[in-house]
Amino acid sequence: MSGEAARLEQPPSTVMRTPRNVDLEITSRCNLRCRYCYYYDNPAVEYRDLPTDEWLQFLDELGRCAVMNVTLQGGEPFIRKDLPLLLESIVRNRMRFSILSNGTLIDDEIAAFIASTGRCDYVQVSVDGSGPETHDACRGRGSFAGAIRGIRTLQRHGIPVAVRVTIHRHNVHDLENTARFLLEDLGLASFGTNSAGYLGSCRLNVDDVLLTTEERQLAMETLLRLSEKYEGRISAQAGPLAEARHWRRMVEARAQGAPPFSNGGRLTACGGPNSKIAVRADGMIIPCTMLAHMELGRINRDTLAEVWQHSPALNRFRQRHTIPLTEFDFCADCPYSPYCTGNCPGLAYTLTGEVDHPSPDACLRRFLEDGGTLVGAERVTSEKAEIACE
């Protein structure tokens, strides 16, 4: 075995003994077909579901690995009739859970069951507008009413509800109404935002879905204003709001000749593979649901701890943060690179065909070259910003 191969047989010292969080795509089925869905239309994925027993066996293994949290997603998790059995197993194996859903299949029976477990951190429901005109544009007729019905059902049972707004061309002009609807009418404590990205089905509907530079700028300005108005009740780990905050810091740092950010100048996004891992609906273990092509092993055939600690592909991926941006022609002569993290490796892969590459989608220089401007960048001094895809 070469020195390089031997090195990749061992995890870096910063890696946990076992993953703390695991994302489980428990089904490849969904009752909706959203036009920007990151999950469907991925040629690397085999859309096939595992039987209940396979998931129960794997959940037992997660319990033995002392995993703390699992996130159930899909597809649409509530489409599985055996969901209560899976949740019982999660509870039995001393874990907590969250569920990512379109909300339309949530009824009183399953909500009561979830509440009874006492282990649910939240159910996240996608809401993309203040009404069916904007929400249903990409998600299908009747989906807004179903999502809101689902949220109200969860609220009635005391289950924490998280809402994610995915911004696209059909709702970017509705953000103010959306914030008012979610925070004032529905009474949510907060909601998160993102934007449609060049993944899955979105790649087939780019012109209809993806924000133009002007729309992206509009989304950033609107969300910054709303975030101030609603005093931090709007969050983002990626998308226009996260970019606006981080990019303003980058512009300010460059203008001041500030030293590089501690996570800048290298492919430091993201830190996920040091603490979490994911499983596809067909049982293949992958680093992240955004990197569905990177098959690391299969559940109930390979042991999770072995894959987690000794997979050469995973350990190589964990070294991604050491790659300097100066290695890439894409970043040549970029004055912002000392402050840039390279952003999401999943988007980098779908856009360039390479995981070890900065994501062109979240490139500040390109945004500015395309005519985008950052309102208020000159005022930024010490604002703490969320960094995309931490």
């Binding site: 010292s13 946990m16 703390r20 703390m68 001393r94 951190d121």
Partner: protein
């Protein structure tokens, strides 16, 4: 009924041991988590309802070299804190439970 002096680790709590012998204690019922050092890990594993705190302190002294005099006080505070946060309980003598 009198409370036993032998602490019992909450069986629902999860001990996540890491490579450096430190660990995270996680209570899935409350989502509370606390980081504990290698001595804390040994103390946690000895809280089986069979050992008093004094016995646990003695066993830790046997296990580690150069245990400082203040260790007993620190361990007592550690167990008290865990008890307050629901990670540790005490059997009620005579309760049969």
């Amino acid at each position: 009924m009198r409370q036993s002096d032998k602490p019992i680790a909450n069986p629902v709590a999860v001990l996540r041991e890491e490579f450096d012998d430190w660990a995270v204690l996680f209570n899935p019922d409350t989502a509370d988590a606390v980081g504990i050092n290698p001595v804390g890990v040994v103390v946690w594993k000895l809280m089986d309802g069979q050992h008093s705190l004094e016995e646990i302190v003695a066993k830790v002294g046997d296990r580690f070299a150069d245990v400082p005099d203040a260790a007993a006080e620190d361990m007592t505070a550690f167990v008290d804190d865990l008890a307050e946060r629901g990670f540790v309980g005490y059997e009620l003598e005579g309760s049969g439970q």
